[in-house]
Assembly symmetry: C2
Homo-oligomer: 320 residues x 2
């Protein structure tokens, strides 16, 4: 890792960490782990969130370091963006990010725009958590069980439980080191993956009912309207992971979850299995992501959005 | 590992490997990996199955070495039981097992009865696959990608994708070594975990519908009758994993899947989260397994079996 980047961290007395908006397990886990490690050295550290931490991750150590800009918009000595591909993912915090005298950007998205003063982007890493793990080791910080819990969460969520193609031998070696700190994997896995509620199960039941197959069963499409959410009593965040149902069907190459956020705003999640690069599809609608997992937000009516998406994906499915 | 055990393998010219009846990913994966390794040294090797390999595992390298006793009941120089806690798990093959001049038993079940001439039982291992991995290393066999696929399958299925409490740092270090052989984790995970069919999805939908909670929502019970299977078009093996739906609900400690095999034969799968030892419950009905995952087969009518199970589990739930 660049010497300037490490020196910037070592010399800063106050540091704010910026995970991306709609923060996921990797963004939150890597941010909290880094915050805990830096705090242990006596620095003033906060994690600037765009939204509150999702319920699933609230149990993580270091959650108490998370604040909103509205609560505290002090200018810190150093701002570090984690898992953030571009400044759009900083959302309303973008202006504040650049006010610090020094800025760092650590990320594993291949599309990263290197927007900070020091940029460490490694697309070969399965998660930003692994990059923070290496940073802490390089800086000779001892990784305790609390930090290990956060980093394990980062890794396990971004690799789909070590199942996605981004998982490497290095990912498992890192997991082995994190487990050596004595973390309770069963407890952690249960909190991260086995935290279904009856409401979520009923939403799953509904999603299976609504799932449609197109293009000789290569494409699975699930449309979740506001009506569906209301009828099951489910929240927006309960839809997380529903896109994987379609992906799990034998023979399906692309799975799309089309979720009505409001009458005119549609959130789209895309997953593929072997050959379609869904980041290209997401990019065509102003979004981004990885080859096998991407997303975008589209303005429009849900029926129109569905048709546009199917037409775009149809083309990609042919180019095998 | 015992020198006698290794010598028995080295000197045998013909070897039969016996995975347990109703073979799972660990039994099949460890058996095929060992068979492939031994065959490479020029030995005559077969894997004696009680039933045919389940569809999910048919893609594994070495599947062609699997035979039934009816097809070939030659007495081999050495018989090796893998992942087999006692001779009952050898089912109809038990008599043949003891006819060989030498017998070996390699297993990770704490309840193993050490029924063979050479017994290597290590309950600290998450899977028998890990024990076969160590055996191959100790014997200086090179683990190629085909063997690695089988061993990875063994490990990943018995640890629930590295999620169960039996997962250790050693498990991840073994996975790292297996990945280094160049196996395609995404492809393998997809075949092992993302192989749902529409029929299975519809069965899942039905299982969610039928799930009942008891004992202040600490106990989840799902009853799958022959009628349910027939109405969804699902097969018996499609029920694999359904017990985890109940376990995944926040607050549930024990999940039970009660499956009607025939009018008078009920198969029961048990899972627990933190404190109930379900192997004790299974043992009370003549079955066995581990603390967090166990099973038994009960003769009787499904409604009676359900009542008996709920009463037995009720007691265990109180002893927190």
């Amino acid at each position: 890792m660049e010497k300037g980047l490490i020196k910037a961290i070592e010399t800063a007395e106050s540091i704010a960490i910026f995970p991306h908006t709609s923060a996921d397990g990797d963004a939150i886990g890597s941010s909290l782990a880094l915050a805990l490690a830096l705090k242990k050295t006596g620095k003033k550290v906060i994690v600037y969130m765009e939204e509150s931490i999702p319920d699933t991750y609230k149990f993580l150590p270091g959650s108490e370091l998370a604040v909103f800009i509205s609560e505290n918009d002090d200018i810190m000595g150093l701002n570090i963006a984690l898992d953030t591909g571009d400044t759009a993912r900083l959302a309303s915090r973008a202006a504040l990010f650049f006010k610090a005298p020094a800025t760092i950007n650590i990320d594993h998205h291949i599309t990263n725009t290197k927007f900070a003063q020091y940029n460490h982007v490694d697309a070969s890493a399965a998660s930003t958590g692994e990059l923070v793990f290496l940073l802490l080791k390089e800086m000779n910080y001892e990784i305790d069980a609390d930090m290990a819990k956060c980093l394990y969460t980062a890794i396990v969520t971004d690799t789909g439980g070590f199942k996605y193609g981004n998982t490497t031998a290095e990912t498992h070696r890192t997991a082995a080191e994190l487990l050596s700190t004595g973390i309770d994997v069963a407890d952690l896995s249960q909190k991260l993956f086995d935290n279904t509620t009856f409401v979520k199960l009923k939403l799953t039941q509904k999603a299976i009912e609504l799932l449609e197959l197109y293009e000789n069963d290569l494409l699975a499409v699930t449309v979740i309207t506001q009506d569906v959410l209301q009828s099951t009593g489910a929240k927006d965040e309960d839809c997380d992971g529903l896109v994987n149902i379609g992906r799990s069907i034998e023979g399906v190459e692309v799975s799309v979850l089309i979720k009505e956020k409001s009458t005119n705003e549609i959130r789209v999640n895309l997953r593929s299995k072997t050959y379609v690069d869904v980041s290209e599809i997401a990019a065509a609608f102003g979004g981004g992501g990885h080859k096998r997992a991407a997303g975008c937000t589209i303005k429009g009516r849900i029926t129109d959005v569905k048709e546009q998406l199917i037409n775009t994906i149809k083309d990609k499915l042919k180019r095998r």
